[in-house]
Amino acid sequence: MSHDQQHDGGQHPAHLQHHFDTSLQQFEAGKLGMWLFLATEVLLFGGLFCAYSIYRGNHPEIFHYGHQFLDKILGATNTVILLASSLTMALAVRCAQIDRKGRLQLFLALTFLGGFGFMVIKYVEYSHKFHEGLFPGIGFDYEELMRKEEAGRRLRADEANAHGSGGDAEGLPVAEIASAAPRERSEMADAPRGPAGLAAPVVEGGHGDGEEGGHVLPANRPENAHIFFSIYFMMTGLHGIHVLAGMAIIAWLFFRARKGHFGREYFTPVDLGGLYWHLVDLIWIYLFPLLYLIE
């Protein structure tokens, strides 16, 4: 690490780097550096949130449709997990400051587990979507979606016939509904892909997995509905990459803590790592309502 640890007859502590005069100066420099880095991360995600806002402003129907595919429960669980991991991280910093080395390792490990749990749930969500053919961009499988909608429509039509005439819009033929344009249509030119869907919600026929079972496919699928999923994957994907980076940092801190590098004189890396983790948490706090909750 630093090349100066052996000279100077032990006049300065091992952690003090050669170009700094005092530990305090080094600590303050590190803090300022990390806050500046967090500012750059905010600007990075800020650009993405800006793109989200503008696209949502232009095409609210896509977001209204698409967010119904997201599982609020899983999203909320992830939120709780990250918040809890921020708590354990803050406790880890505190333990480092007061020389509680055992507790420090425990809290770092718990924080890591929180990140791991978050990624597991993300994996579950992503794999479910991929299973359904809901890939970002050109991978999006419209045929699969339309097949499910068709199957669901037929299923409901059968049920309606079995119970007598329902008197609502559910039995309308697909062709008629497809020609009725979705209500909030944008001024943009017609898209070459992504035809509009059924006007009424249909039950997804016989495709239940363990987690989500036979859920209701939303109605009024607008043109270019797949763009919601592209935006969803880009935002949560970039965030997920940052969670993984954070987990790597926490693991590194854990192994350094085991070797006894941190104590009341020197806990800077834990402090700075904590700042980064809190930001990663904060970004999710914004992502969750914007993608999962707002109607």
Binding site: H3, G33, T40, G46, G137, I138, G139, M188, A191
Partner: protein
Amino acid sequence: MSLSGANPQTAPPPAPGAVGEASNYLSHARGPLSWLFTLDHKRIGVMYLVVILASFLLGGIFAMLVRTELWTPGPTITENATTYNKWFTLHGAVMIFLVIIPGIPAALGNFVLPIMLGAKDVAFPRLNLLSFYLWVTGAVCFLLSLAMGGIDTGWTFYTPYSSKYTPTMVIPALSGAFVLGFSSIFTGLNFIVTIHKLRPPGMTWFRMPLFLWGIYATAVIQVLATPVLGITLLLLIMESTLQVGIFNPDMGGDPVLMQHFFWFYSHPAVYIMILPSMGVVSELISVHSHKHIFGYRFIAWSSIAIAMFSFIVWGHHMFTSTQSGLMNTIFSAITFSVSIPSAIKIFNWLATMYKGAISLTTPMLYALSFIFLFTIGGLTGLFLGTLSTDVHFHDTYFVVAHFHYTMMGSALIGMFGGIHHWWPKITGRLYSEFWGRIACGFVFVGFNITFFTQFVMGSQGMPRRYYNFVEQYTSYHQVSTIGSYIMLVGFVIMGIYLMQSLVNGRRAPANPWGGNSLEWHCTSPPPHDNFASPPQVGDCYDYRGWEYDREIEGYVPRTA
């Protein structure tokens, strides 16, 4: 520092290869690994200088290809319009991302900043080395893109051409730019923390040399603007690979949104290019006029003002891109006001020179060239910032001439001035002043012939980025091309005498120019540690403590 213990400024410089030569950062450790794994800001600065000058050569080759092709109205050296598009794209991308944006901060700033500040190194030396390797990685990505046929989108990567319709492989170039962005961010971050936290006792903000104010303002822009470029490039990569659609009108996306994102970074980026150069000029004008800088606080605050204003004018690149009349007017008005702090600097520099003892050394000639060329560049920016005239000038050679006057005639000229000014300090050698002045003359004359003609051509309607053009512009293009070859001669001469100085140039004294900022208080080249103990901080623009010593061809502390 000095092995003999003698005052490094009064002892004559030893003959080349003499025993007892003081140990310095170059001789401190030897072998390629000591360079590749160095944490010494001076070595990192030197490595940056080498690769940046190499990139300048590459970008320059593309420039000569473009200018040569434009000798005749029809095909001249290539039959293929796409090839021409690739040449101007790569010229722009290489020059902007690999040369000018990193240029002064990475090559000169890294070397000079800690010494000028009185510190032993930057705040985060390992991050500094990482920044260098990120630059190298970005450059390799660009070279990869070149090997895969190059890109033809223009350095501005407008959608949907760049994301959907271009047959060229943009992903390596976009990735390269992304990585280079992080190099820039980390350098800026490092400099901000260094200036805030590593100033020695007595070095208050308003005692710092103005070069450091310029670097600081640049670093603020680097840290705040570059991440937006980062996300723009990521979104572009997503558009290109996955056809996500947010910039594609066919899918309800907005191509102008990409322009907003792009210019939100790229306008502040041009101030990343010019602010360090202005900082250099502040040093050059004062030192080589042997006169205290005039209006220190005005120049210092103007750097901060330029940095702040730079974030709110990006729309002036998009006057003809369907922005509303109201937005256009607002951007135009703010664009006018951003010229004010720049003009403040020019007047302060002129006032500095007034009644000074001006030495027309090579660095001074570059500084004077800067003042002349930046005045033209800046004033022509006003025509572009005015809505009614911009409608005619947009996408013509008028724009090309304007940005070459500011990016090359000012930013790069300032960089070369700084390279010549600090060359003796960095290398410990003196180059030939005679050939330095000759080369500067070729560059200055060649530059004006090349680009002034383009103002005229552009105002007469010659569009930019056109491979073929109509007969009426032929003589303008030919004059411009001749100018570019004259410039080429200048740069070739420069390359030769700089190389020669490394081989057998005279040893440089500690203070060849008579400057008083801290870097002139240590040997040329500086010792490994910069300062054994925190240095005495005085007024860095007060030159009265030095006198010229003919024997060593440099300045020594005035005795009595």
